[in-house]
Assembly symmetry: none
Homo-oligomer: 273 residues x 2
DNA sequence: CTTCTGATGTAACAAGGTGTACAATAGAGT
DNA sequence: ACTCTATTGTACACCTTGTTACATCAGAAG
């Protein structure tokens, strides 16, 4: 806003070419933030000197200072949501962190990426679910949801890794949740499965994660800290979105299975209502 | 995404300083888009040459090309919202539902109520954690977090309810997660524990829940549906908030335990970093 | 301990960018 | 038509930046 304000305050004192320059930078701010004097001059169809004079007219020492100001402006815009100021009850910073983490999950997980991650889960022979510690809730959510809509979903516990995984083979899919400190057993198991030809779907927190080099089918989440530990909320959300997408892909097959499950529940009187 | 992809595909071939560079540009993308070789090198604490080598390692001709790519990426991001309406159409209702569920968790869980639920967990002799199906992720999150900061935390599985609970007595606390259809075993177990004099902390979805009549220490959450199933996100958030509050109450005792846990992890080489 | 390899830093260089002095130009007023 | 002034373009000096060649250093292998 500050740039537009600057222009507005002196806009009646602008010369013709300066006005053209102003119009150009308002229409496409990247001319200022990413461009330089030469490109901007070319775009407007004027000389480079006029660009510099435009900057000084706005009150800056030169083009460089104007550019810096424009860059600061967009940087501030990007970081604002997290800095949002509010009253200081001790729960609110947590609320902020979690809410923005939730939002970022949906930014990362556009529909096409979600499709790319869910499709293998719909078609795989077996689905193996691996996780570290903080991501365990996500793994549970995925296993629980997925096993209600398809068969052969296995949660692999740390202490039973070898025994359970020995049947894995090509055509299977392994979903690996792991964050921040990267539990060795999860990473090792994932690497082993990848070597066996199993398709890896990774939910992790950084392109620098050891999981990221194993597969293209993955997403990187922002993980907020809640108290001393990392939150598993983003992982759980991803798990639930994956399940709902798999359900959509499987269509009637999933519905049938859910129906059969329901009759089983009824027969065993599992629920109170 | 393309930058993060680029980094991910070669992340295991990065040298130490190159990894530091990668971490820096992932954390603050403006270092790439707005910065230059000099500033990035200064930020990372390395030489300018290493920055250039990092760019070439990623497959670019040099830093300039990498910067251009980064700039293109954010330019694309800025124009995306218009496409987003179309391509993300099916995700947006879900996003709305989850975000407002998150918000409602914090509306329900004012600081005093959170205190009331967390305090018993800090002082109890034993903490028993029970759950239904969709709330299982929350139970896992609570058990996992709580057992890192205090001892005698037990997750009670459906098939082992009797065996595990027979030691419960006055002075213990049971946290029960259960929603919507109210799994019979969770409710029955909670009732039994209440009869034994165990303090019940309930996380459920309605004052009409069978759990609500057992205890005053409880909260009622709005549970959104994600696909055909109920979301466990609210339960997980409550679990994490409880843990963070217990940590605050236990103070140094919790910190000591975390420290000991850390040395154990170090000794057993549990994590990659 | 020595050697070798790869990673890192230093320094030089070429290219490109900014700012300014100065010349050219356009336009208004006489 | 002439002059004066404000505006714009040109040219140049200076500085910064990206790149590369070379020297140094650290660490693994023997």
């Amino acid at each position: 806003m500050s740039l537009k304000n600057d222009i507005a305050t002196i806009n009646d004192r602008l010369t013709r070419t300066q006005r053209r320059i102003a119009e150009a930078v308002i229409e496409d701010e990247s001319l200022l933030t990413f461009g330089n004097v030469t490109t901007l001059a070319a775009r407007v169809g004027t000389s480079r000197a006029s660009i510099v004079r435009f900057a000084t007219k706005l009150g800056y020492a030169g083009f460089s200072e104007l550019q810096q100001s424009a860059r600061d402006e967009v940087s501030k815009k990007r970081t604002r949501p997290s800095q949002r100021v509010r009253s200081d009850a001790s729960l609110e910073p947590l609320q902020d962190k979690i809410e923005s983490a939730v939002r970022s999950v949906f930014e990362v997980l556009h529909q096409d990426r979600l499709n790319g991650m869910a499709s293998p889960l719909a078609t795989a022979n077996h689905v193996w679910v691996l996780s570290g510690e903080t991501s365990r809730s996500g793994a549970i959510a995925l296993t629980s949801g997925l096993s209600m809509v398809r068969s052969n979903v296995m949660l692999v516990d740390e202490h039973s890794t070898g025994r359970e995984l020995c049947g894995a083979q090509k055509g299977d899919v392994a979903v690996v949740f792991d964050f921040s400190r990267y539990r060795r057993h999860a990473v090792d198991a994932a690497r082993m499965l990848a070597d066996l030809g199993v398709t890896i779907v990774a939910i992790t927190d950084s392109p620098l994660s050891p999981l990221s080099s194993l597969t293209d089918i993955r997403c990187e989440l922002d993980i907020p800290a809640v108290g001393p530990f990392d939150s598993s909320v983003p992982a759980v959300i991803v798990a639930e979105l994956l399940v709902s997408q798999v359900v959509r892909e499987l269509g009637d097959k999933a519905r049938d299975r859910i129906d059969r499950l329901e009759t089983l529940w009824q027969a065993t009187d599992t629920f109170l209502i």
